[in-house]
Symmetry: D2
Subunit: 355 residues, 4 copies
């Protein structure tokens, strides 16, 4: 039985971790960390857990926790983990960090976009970016997994096969993303009140959202060259779900008959299948079917598809996931499964909730 501790158990991502780990046959939660609710019953904070969780919330003592559990999930504000992580802790426990502290290899990029100093850049190199479908083998042996962001998971997985195969001109790549409001967290802010979000839609963080460099770094690895994108997130009046719509010019490729031209739909689909056909959690939709966030709600699936436009020479890529599951807690559990030799789908392979 894997013993797990959660630091930041009372945020939305932390709450989802609890939900998923309760359904995991070989894991148990030993520590519900929450600085805001110390000594309060966890089920008083999340009443869906009434009768399911009897524990009280504890403080966020990473050092003490490291001696009690096998894995620690940190669903904490940026900078927290970097400020407390030590070699000693890493020697005693696996860490899956849901914050951004170890996602970006270049510390100056991190500090520029997050506007905070990184307190332990010495662990950046060894940290493995926990996008399971791309970095599976590296994750298995890691001590420290940087669990990807919600937007980034969706943005990268939607574009990855085409970038990797050189089918699109990454200089033309534009990512227009839409997210449910749980992505904004449980903090009490006026802008996230029901009456402000309901019946409303807006872009935010235009040109400066922090998931931009994370997307760029990973797509650069895939492309083998530097990729810069415009990434624009939007807030949508729904609780869960991220939808990304990506636009790029197709690149000419050599066809079987030796001629050059834009890749056919079959070729693009083959690229997706090359990388994802065996993936349990990535569903390449049938031709012509556009992903909808509702079809993945509550699950760890990512649905992807594309449409080409001969008129403009562009391909439109689409991807959908549940920001709290594959975009956060689900992927974290998937990483835990990889770290501990569990079947990768354990605790995660259930049907989405509809309607």
């Amino acid at each position: 039985m894997i013993k797990a501790g959660i630091i930041g158990a009372t945020g939305y991502a932390g709450g989802e971790l609890v939900r998923l780990l309760l359904g995991h046959r070989n894991a148990e939660i030993k520590w519900f960390g929450s600085r805001s609710y110390i000594d309060r019953k966890y089920a008083d904070v999340y009443r869906n857990m009434f009768c399911l969780v009897e524990d009280k919330c504890l403080d966020d003592n990473l050092k003490e926790l490291a001696g009690q559990v096998d894995v620690i999930f940190t669903a904490t504000p940026q900078g927290y983990l970097a400020s407390v992580l030590t070699e000693d802790i890493l020697n005693r426990v696996k860490i899956i960090d849901l914050s951004a502290d170890y996602r970006i290899k270049d510390v100056s990029v991190y500090e520029k976009w997050y506007q905070i100093e990184h307190k332990s850049p010495q662990f950046l190199e060894e940290a493995v970016y926990g996008l399971c479908e791309i970095n599976r083998d590296d994750i298995k042996g890691a001590r420290l997994v940087a669990n990807p962001g919600c937007y980034t998971t969706c943005s990268i997985l939607t574009a990855y096969p085409l970038v990797k195969e050189g089918l699109i001109d990454t200089d033309t790549l534009v990512i227009d993303a839409k997210s449910g409001t749980s992505g904004a967290g449980r903090g009490a802010k006026t802008v996230n009140l029901f009456c402000e979000v309901n019946e409303n839609m807006k872009a935010y963080g235009v040109t400066e959202h922090r998931h931009t460099p994370e997307i760029e770094e990973q797509l650069s690895y895939a492309a083998g060259r530097e990729v810069l994108v415009n990434f624009t997130p939007h807030l949508v009046p729904m609780n869960r779900g991220i939808l990304v719509t990506e636009y790029a010019k197709l690149r000419e490729v050599q066809r079987e008959d030796g001629t050059w031209g834009l890749p056919s739909d079959e070729r693009i689909r083959a690229a997706y299948e090359k990388y994802y056909a065996k993936e349990a959690f990535i569903r390449i939709l049938d031709q012509g079917v556009c992903p909808e966030t509702k079809w993945v709600e509550g699950s760890n699936f990512v649905d992807v598809n594309f449409k080409t436009d001969a008129r403009t020479g562009r391909v439109i890529l689409m991807g959908a996931l549940d920001n709290l599951v594959k975009g956060a807690a689900g992927q974290a559990v998937q990483n835990m499964n990889l770290l501990f030799g569990e079947p990768e789908t354990e605790g995660l392979f259930f049907a989405p909730l509809f309607p």
Copy 2:
């Protein structure tokens, strides 16, 4: 492995049955019946099931199906099952009927409220009303289970202990119920369009909703006398969830010291605990906590609580459940577990989804 067939698999309740049975360790679906989508892939109708269900939809041949499976769920319009059910079928297969055909013992009451002729009243007597917490023992040996309605499950379970113990004057009982829109089904009707339901709230079926006689019959059994209530359903702009608020005058009871007076909060709570303390799916909330539909979403839980008002001598009872789970498919699976000797919670004991 219990082999199950579903007639009406493409309605919302049918879809939820599929979701739940996919997660049941000892059941498998052999027949996805849907008159509207014959020969279409089930996962084309409910794309959340893409990669999870490969079957096509079949017609609704109850007789043929009876030879292939152990249990049939009928999530069909009123009158369907009554029109095709035979003794021969009942001898070969268990039936759990999610329609109202066998819920009401008095055929004249059924025909009055549903405005259709009942085609096989001869099975009414043996049919067991599948409210698991109340009729558990009878269900176990049944051939035909009448799965309760969504509003009725919530309304009855919320009031049952107080009615049974004689703590309230049932002549004063008023039930004000609020439901998410999935209760209205997946039929394409203008009144259920997004723009008509969103940002809107209304009562409907006032004084004449068909769940009224079902509630009255069951509460009459509990009271040992005829109970008539006003039951008023309301449509709420949310997908899932039923909340009931019930009002009744408290009856004077004899206290431990021999005097008579209105029952104390402790006494009322004791009544709930007497009947529900051991129930896996009924949660008696802590004092002062009002049930919220979101805390049970996606789960088989019913949350109940109450508040007394010394000023008026009334008690206000509150209950919440997910209309598609405990209010339909979840309770149906719970009934299946009882019928086949499975642990009652198998396939059903998971945490609600929040947010």
Copy 3:
């Protein structure tokens, strides 16, 4: 031109006052008071007002304001107006108070339900309860108008004709109310975040909501005897709208032929028409039509109707209004029109927004 000042212009009710007064032909806003946003442009706080309001927010100096305007609207927390009101101010300016400070004549009742000391009870007697349709004549000459609460306006207007005419037994009256979330105000509270309210429904303030004594006082006047009710508010995932569903036993009345019996539907309808037929803002719906909040959204209308149940001897009353308009700012403007001899519908008679 009526010069108006608003104290509390940046709450939701204050914002709605601004919207309505901008459309009033004979009023202009001279003071946008907001303690939280002093010196900030009003249109930065409510961007719907961009290019429509150029003013900055000012402090809430009632005394200074009294010298500059003809009428002051106080859309402020409970206790504010009572703590600053003076005879001198009342001599110089009309005041329409959207808080509860002067709604309840009995100061002990106010202090019990609101849990604060009333600082100027000497003005309670002269304050006129600004329910225009009931107290029209008294309002016209008032210096201080206590603008009714949102729930109370809806609850009272829905029941008033039947209480006044003695058609229902007020001892059996139960009021089940449902409100959109703007009624909870613009304060940044976790419970009002989008993700907590959306896809959720709950009761709150059961047996102890502060609008209870206000409803009871006004219905007591109508009944000519003390009325106690159970009033239960519920939070609904929509921005605007209140729906009330009221239950009461009908009282036997003498019919035209001299016999006694429960009142007919015609008689009940006649009661509504007796009091409301000439009212511009109260719409008695056609028989069988249930009020829906969406049909009054953005407008000053109240829609009412009823349904009798011969089985139980009860009548179910239903009413709907927009909590920010007829439930707050609209009624306040209606009161202003009465105070200043304007046509009562000026600035208020426009069609609801649908969808």
Copy 4:
């Protein structure tokens, strides 16, 4: 008093026309045409109009109607107006067509995208594209106004000044649009049911939405060269509102000092102001403020703004409007005002509804 007739008065756009015309001081509706509801009271179809509209719905006899009114609004399915329009009708009455029949000059483009034959292409040349801010002078003298589509109005107005001034490379222009569900109309379709739209988001009509050629034609006029775009609409769980996010590479321009480079923010803002500074209904937001659909809800405003990204050399343009007002009925009334010499803002200049 302008006498107006509406063909298609019971769709959402038709309903909004009724709402707006009721508030117009110099117009009255003489004909509520609705093939689906002939002889039914209009207020039974839209109960928000109860007590405001007493008329019954009439058939859609354009010829007869032409003799009774000054202007006809056709809020009808594609192809209707083209199939009944005659020279005689145009001689007797002004027509404002809310369908797409006369929006596209090239009949082959229309027939390709709409997949129907155009029955009266002879009127295409004289029809004026009713985008008031761009074609104001031409509209004034027109007999036939082609009222622009909702997406197109928002997409074009957001990009127009930059295209006109040559500040962006139109070959790189991508338009990602998001719309509330009222844009899908009031037809009873499963995909538009509350439970299918709520808590969901999806793209649709990718690469083939019919507003694409309309946007391209108008932007081509502005650019002075052919413009092809990718336009991707998305369905959002809200009733009203369109938000567009547009992406394009900036073009190098000559600066005041003679050097060449990407245009500064000031230069881009100046372009917006050049065309829109005097427009009553276009609001250029303050720097850094992103448009939100809620800030324009119920009003005729279009809010626009932009953000440049030096890293990628792109500009992100954003625009928001209410699809039923400026995107349909409001613009139609604005066109009516132009046709009849009314102040352009008459009946349209009121504050948006918030929240």
